[in-house]
């Protein structure tokens, strides 16, 4: 189902039928009925199943922490979108870069960031990846080139262009993976960024996770052209759509995209068709879709069930091994939660650190730290 649309300088791939195929309905369920041609499963697919279970269970545990008011702010969970994340991020090299949006826990996990440090960040603790200063929506792990979750919709696309520009300037063949949702494509920065990346041939992979809803607004309500791959192609960018509920389809699309970018042909726009099983955030009452819709979609295409099914068919795991894996992942997440709960809050003095490199404090006169507590 990978459909590559030829962009500027991309002369290969199937030109003729892309428009027709791109307009077909989503095909998540056909994969499970066995119509899709798959590569043979491999041992590393077992690791990917474990990672997807970790991503799923991590989010459920975060929801529990949020319900107990141990996690503050907003909390955006990624359930259902695991294959789209792992099928792309999992194929990156260590010297590639990632910038993503605020639904970022799973993306950090897929990049190999320590789960307990992510959970500690959600809890706002000193042991968190950002020392408790960023929170759920702003995860960073610079040593893994995980350059941030960004919570202003589309605000990180220009950043991705800059990272890509730096790669090109330094003669590196790294890819910058830039992840955003379907709600991002009507912001001016989406258009500015695709145009700049195209005209400067920047090594940026624009990955749109199209889960059909921008918060609670269906994409057809806000966009005359709902095919984001088509829209991207208008900028002279090579594009494709893939089934983001299908790990193998996503991987195949990701592979083509990265080969394209590393060969110096410029940016690539990949639209992964996906669906989130939870609300936009924990504050979402989900008035805009029915419970039936969610359960039907989940029944039709749960990305974890697809991987589990193929591994069982191939004899790489059986029911007992799967149950054992689930128990181990649950245990691992429990330990993450314990680590987060037992970790200390940041010291009060941390309030005034990490503002500038060269000078202490905030650069202007101010009173001594007063946390507003009674004497």
């Amino acid at each position: 189902m990978v459909m590559v649309r030829p962009g500027d300088g991309d002369g290969d791939e199937s030109k003729g039928d892309t428009m027709v195929r791109a307009k077909q309905p989503r095909e998540g369920s056909t994969a499970r009925s066995g119509k899709r041609a798959y590569p043979p499963v491999a041992l590393h697919d077992v690791d990917d199943l474990r990672m997807m279970l970790l991503m799923r269970r991590f989010e459920d545990a975060a929801a529990e922490g949020y319900s107990k008011a141990k996690i503050g702010g907003f909390l955006h969970l990624d359930n259902g979108q695991e294959a789209a994340a792992l099928g792309t991020i999992g194929l990156l090299r260590d010297d590639d870069y990632i910038v993503t949006h605020y639904r970022d826990h799973g993306h950090a996990l897929a990049r190999g960031v320590e789960p307990e440090r992510i959970m500690a960040e959600l809890y706002g603790k000193a042991t968190g990846v950002c020392a408790g200063k960023g929170g759920s929506m702003h995860l960073f792990d610079a040593k893994r080139n995980f350059m941030g979750g960004y919570a202003i919709v589309t605000g990180h696309l220009p950043i991705a262009c800059g990272l890509g520009l730096a790669m090109k300037y330094q003669g590196r063949d790294s890819v910058v993976l830039c992840i955003f949702g379907d709600g991002a494509v009507n912001e001016g920065e989406w258009h500015e960024s695709l145009n700049l990346a195209a005209v400067w041939k920047l090594p940026v992979l624009f990955l749109c996770l199209n889960n059909e809803y921008a918060m609670g607004t269906a994409i057809a309500t806000t966009s005359a052209v709902t095919n984001i791959a088509d829209r991207s192609a208008a900028y002279g960018i090579a594009t494709a759509r893939c089934d983001g509920m299908d790990l193998w389809d996503t991987r195949a699309a990701m592979d083509k995209a990265t080969v394209h970018i590393r060969s110096g042909k410029g940016p690539y726009a990949l639209e992964a068709m996906t669906y989130r099983f939870r609300g936009h955030s924990m504050a979402d009452p989900e008035f805009y879709r029915t419970k039936q819709e969610v359960s039907e979609r989940r029944e039709a295409a749960d990305p974890i069930e697809l991987v589990r099914g193929r591994l069982e068919e191939a004899g790489l795991i059986d029911a007992a091994a799967y149950d054992r894996m689930v128990a181990e992942v649950n245990q691992q997440v429990e330990e993450c939660v314990r680590f987060a709960e037992e970790s200390p809050d940041p010291e009060p003095g941390e309030l005034y650190t990490d503002i500038y490199a060269g000078i202490a404090g905030t650069g202007v006169p101010g009173p001594a730290i007063d946390l507003g507590r009674g004497a």
Binding site: K133, I152, G155, G162, L196, G363, V364
Partner: protein
């Protein structure tokens, strides 16, 4: 020591730094083939090529964000925004990324980019091209904002700003570009965050920056004829902000006037006045006064525009009313 223009001081410093360190490159609208809308970058495309002098689309947000991203990856980008008014289209990137990414990432990521832009009115460009908005940026923890008033400081502060590990907004008042001053030929730095007493006096402290410094000096000359001795302090750097130099002066003179090209209500001058009141209240013989732009959108008509802006006469009258 040669006498050169403010524009030439910037240009020669940029060129010198570009020759020494390949991490520097510049992005902006019409900085290359056109030569820069204020001619600061004239000739740089010819010397450094389009890899390092990059003409961009008219798309301020992605220009700014690309500068931030490239800085995160270890380069030293310079982003030229044609005027501070256009920078509003990139405000999201400055406010929500550049100024807070170090903090939000717990110190893991820095964005050492230099943002240059022209500011200020006086050329009959009306309300979309004449405002002085640098005070808005000085509001942001995590960003440094500097406002040199003369060629010597322009060159020295630009050299210092280009070596900063933090994002720096370098504000160039358009009326200052043709102004001349003495600038040494050997490289030097003027540290950011240090105010400068440009004229000593004993009766009143005039706090000013950018174009306001010339107004303050002219006002001091006029006040001297009436036997009033004004001390002129060039703030130079809005953030980090050197309060000590100002407080030391006010403790000596007992009076303070703050001059700025931005609107009076809610402006940076109000912040300076508040700080003087907090830190030198017992030394004040009169309330701190402000000479700022009138609280109106910049008008087109020449007479109306001149009336809306601070000038030396307004400073002189304000000082006289305090003594």
């Amino acid at each position: 020591m040669a006498e050169i223009t403010f524009r030439e001081a910037l240009r020669s410093t940029l060129i010198d730094q570009f020759r020494k360190d390949e991490r520097y490159f510049m992005m902006g609208e019409d900085i290359g083939a056109y030569g820069g809308s204020y001619a600061v970058t004239r000739g740089m495309l010819e010397e450094f090529g389009d890899r390092r002098i990059m003409d961009t689309p008219i798309a301020e947000s992605v220009i700014m964000g690309a500068g931030i991203g490239a800085a995160m990856a270890g380069l030293r980008p310079i982003v030229e925004v044609m005027t501070i008014n256009f920078s509003l289209l990139a405000l999201d990137q400055v406010v929500n990324v550049a100024s807070c990414v170090r903090y939000m990432s717990g110190g893991q990521v820095q964005a050492p980019l230099l943002i240059r832009m022209a500011t200020g009115g006086g050329r009959q460009l009306a309300a979309t091209h004449s405002h002085s908005l640098e005070g808005w940026y000085a509001h942001l923890p995590g960003l440094k904002v500097v406002t040199p008033s003369n060629p010597y400081d322009a060159a020295g502060m630009l050299r210092a700003a280009m070596r900063e590990d933090d994002p720096v907004l370098f504000v160039e008042h358009a009326a200052l570009y043709p102004g001349k001053g003495e600038v040494p030929e050997e490289p030097y730095e003027v540290p950011l965050g240090k105010a400068n007493v440009v004229r000593e006096g004993k009766d009143v402290t005039v706090v000013c920056w950018s174009r306001g410094v010339g107004l303050g000096q002219e006002a001091a000359t006029q006040l001297e004829r009436d036997g009033i001795s004004a001390e002129i302090i060039d703030v130079r750097s809005m953030r980090p902000f050197d309060l000590d130099t100002i407080v030391t002066s006010v403790k000596k003179t007992g009076r303070a006037v703050v001059v700025e090209d931005d609107w009076r209500f809610g402006g940076f001058a109000g912040e300076v006045a508040a700080l003087i009141s907090e830190h030198a209240f017992d030394y004040l013989d009169a309330p701190v006064r402000r000479v700022a732009a009138e609280d109106v959108p910049a008008p087109y008509n020449r007479l109306l525009e001149q009336a809306s802006m601070p000038n030396e006469t307004k400073i002189v009258n304000t000082v006289k009313a305090m003594i």
